[in-house]
């Protein structure tokens, strides 16, 4: 068994970030399953864990584990790209613990006391930012997030400024700075509901359909360079074109959220046209991944990482591109706005783009962080099983929610004798049961994924020995 060493020893700080990401992912899915059951067994765990509490835990854990994943990715790949260590691995570790403890305390707060009590004891009155979707964190937690991200950007930024500047690390840094800047809008919470909603989307939309795409593109490009050996010039050009398309369509594309919230009517046109073009960058990512793998100059021993990379391309395009396009034109969105169609899209897009890119970089980096060129074959086979279980389960979750959503629109908003919300929900319960079933499969896939890190094989690194990576 050949031990490989990290090129830069401070890359090692990525490891706890990745482990925490996976741990929080498990928590996220458990709370997803709780909610999935509450959808059909309305009083399940009521009043101990009301639906809204489970939902906060589910979505906030999602965001936090993705942030852990992005940070781990940056700590792993930036030193290699910049060809130097980060200035302060101690700071990186300290921030890791601060972020983890602050995150855990926030989740405990959600679960232990009523939300109104949490708002009170954390002084929400001084600077009210709580109680908005995805931004439920107490204001002090938000301030903590800002501090952690600033410290993180200091570490990463200095490394890049002092070191080799590649397109990948510059684009990654731009995305991370953008993430921090857009998050600042979470502190703006005017009394005017329309203004509140208008700028709320500057965090949510301009993250997932803006700056996060830069992060996504650069991590994908990095893994493709490493696993395919394709010329950097080619990869860089692709990366530029992808992020150009992302920002050119995605910024004005924010308008697809400004149809029905009291904003001027011209947004129905602007939002529809520009967001209809938003699938382009996602489509290019798919083509990019497949093209680079086809042109590969070497057979990388880490087949699982290559699978994750190609999977990200495909699933991001399906979830964001196809499912996004489905409801983005104003005349369609008029009917689907705020239904299960939205939930269907939200799930596949978040999983396909951001959960999968984090698992891609973990798959590539984790063996190296453990001193191996790649995991042994048995472990990789198990990891690929988990890939298929989770991905196929997510496809089914999306299909069931889409079916529920289309029926909901018909029953509640379209047919002549339209039903009230609760009556329509009863009619589509079967699809929620099916979604829950698919969710259980997803969870099994996730357990396999974790299991794959512990599978021992006798052929550690032999694949690598055949073709050096």
């Amino acid at each position: 068994m050949s031990e490989v060493q990290l090129r830069y020893k401070t890359q090692a700080v990525a490891k706890p970030y990745f482990i925490a990401a996976i741990g929080l992912f498990v928590g996220q899915v458990i709370f997803g399953l709780i909610m999935g059951l509450q959808y059909v067994v309305g009083d399940f765990l009521f009043p101990e864990i009301p639906f809204n509490v489970a939902r906060m835990v589910h979505t906030n854990l999602l965001i936090v584990w993705l942030l852990f994943g992005f940070m781990g990715a940056a700590y792993f790949l930036v030193p290699e790209e910049a060809e130097r260590d980060i200035p302060s691995p101690k700071l990186a570790l300290a921030l890791f613990w601060i972020f983890l403890v602050a995150g855990a305390l926030t989740i405990v707060g959600y679960l232990a006391v009523p939300y109104a009590t949490l708002a009170k004891i954390t002084g929400n009155d001084l600077l009210p930012t709580m109680g908005r979707e995805f931004l439920e964190q107490p204001t002090i937690t938000k301030i903590g997030i800002v501090i952690v991200v600033l410290g993180f950007i200091y570490n990463i930024g200095l490394t890049i400024l002092a070191g080799r500047k590649t397109v990948i690390n510059i684009v990654l840094l731009t995305g991370l700075v953008g993430l921090a800047v857009m998050f600042l809008f979470s502190f703006y919470n005017p009394d005017n509901l329309v203004l509140d909603k208008y700028f709320w989307w500057w965090v949510v939309h301009l993250w997932v359909e803006g700056v996060w795409e830069l992060i996504l593109g650069s991590i994908l490009a990095y893994v493709l360079i490493k696993t395919t050996g394709v010329d950097r010039e080619v990869i860089d050009k692709w990366l530029y074109v992808i992020i150009a398309a992302a920002l050119i369509t995605g910024i004005i594309g924010t308008g697809h959220h400004y149809f029905w919230i009291g904003t001027p009517v011209y947004w129905t046109w602007l939002g529809s046209v520009f967001s209809a073009l938003e699938p382009i960058p996602f489509f290019m990512m798919t083509i990019f991944a497949f093209n680079m793998v086809n042109k590969r100059r070497k057979q990388h021993p880490n087949k699982a990482a290559v699978l994750w990379a190609m999977g990200t391309g495909v699933m991001a395009f399906l979830g964001a591109g196809v499912w996004g396009f489905m409801h983005t034109l104003a005349p369609v969105n008029y009917y689907t706005h705020g239904t299960q169609v939205t939930a269907a899209h939200g799930h596949m897009a978040f999983y396909g783009a951001y959960a999968m890119i984090v698992m891609t970089i973990i798959s590539y980096a984790m063996p190296k962080l453990r001193g191996l060129p790649a995991m042994n074959n048995r472990a990789q086979v198990m990891e690929m099983w988990s890939f298929w279980l989770m991905t196929v389960a997510m496809v089914f979750i999306t299909l069931f929610l889409t079916a529920a959503g289309i029926l909901q629109v018909w029953l509640q908003r379209y047919q002549p004798n339209a039903l009230p919300f609760m009556a329509a929900q009863d009619q589509v319960a079967i699809f929620y049961w099916c979604r829950e079933g698919a969710g259980v499969i997803f969870f099994i896939g996730l357990l396999c994924y974790i299991g794959s890190f512990f599978v021992k094989g006798d052929n550690n690194g032999t694949a690598a020995a055949v073709v050096p990576g």
């Binding site: 009301p50 530029y240 050119i248 004005i252 029905w260």
Partner: protein, 144 residues
């Protein structure tokens, strides 16, 4: 991609394109804020409505409900509940007040928030104000 299309061309499209659209977006945002007074019902944005929004937020109503179509999809849309309840603030207050502490067996349940009378008035007023925002005719019907 061929040799004619170089990396620096790609970079320029990225930089030029994003700067251009950031500026356009800022311009549109400025224009939107100028026009909002016509649609956002700010004439009725009283102290009480502002308190109502606070009550809405600190009880995380958005975690089960949508408001103007945004939020969670577990419980009814509330942007038009004022219309659905026959334009009666009392009916809204009555509904919120009467939630059983242990929920309704087998049915999706809404918590008992134990709101004060002042908070109840404020939340009802906030929901009335929300229902009078000009939403371009959304939702399609009274069911929300």
């Amino acid at each position: 991609m061929s040799e004619i299309f170089t990396k620096s061309m790609a970079r320029n499209i990225y930089l030029g394109g994003s700067v251009f659209f950031v500026l356009v977006f800022l311009g549109l945002t400025f224009d939107t804020t100028q026009r909002l007074p016509k649609t956002d019902n700010r004439a009725n944005l009283t102290e009480q409505v502002a308190l109502g929004k606070m009550v809405w937020e600190r009880n995380n109503c958005i975690g089960c409900h949508t408001l103007l179509g945004e939020g969670a999809y577990f419980a009814p849309e509330l942007g038009n509940v004022y219309q659905r309840f026959g334009q009666s603030k009392e009916a809204i207050k009555g509904f919120i007040k009467s939630r059983p502490v242990d929920g309704i067996p087998g049915r999706r349940s809404m918590p008992q928030f134990n709101l004060t009378e002042e908070e109840l008035d404020a939340i009802a007023e906030f929901l009335k104000y929300s229902s009078e925002i000009n939403t371009n005719n959304w939702p399609p019907n009274i069911n929300g």
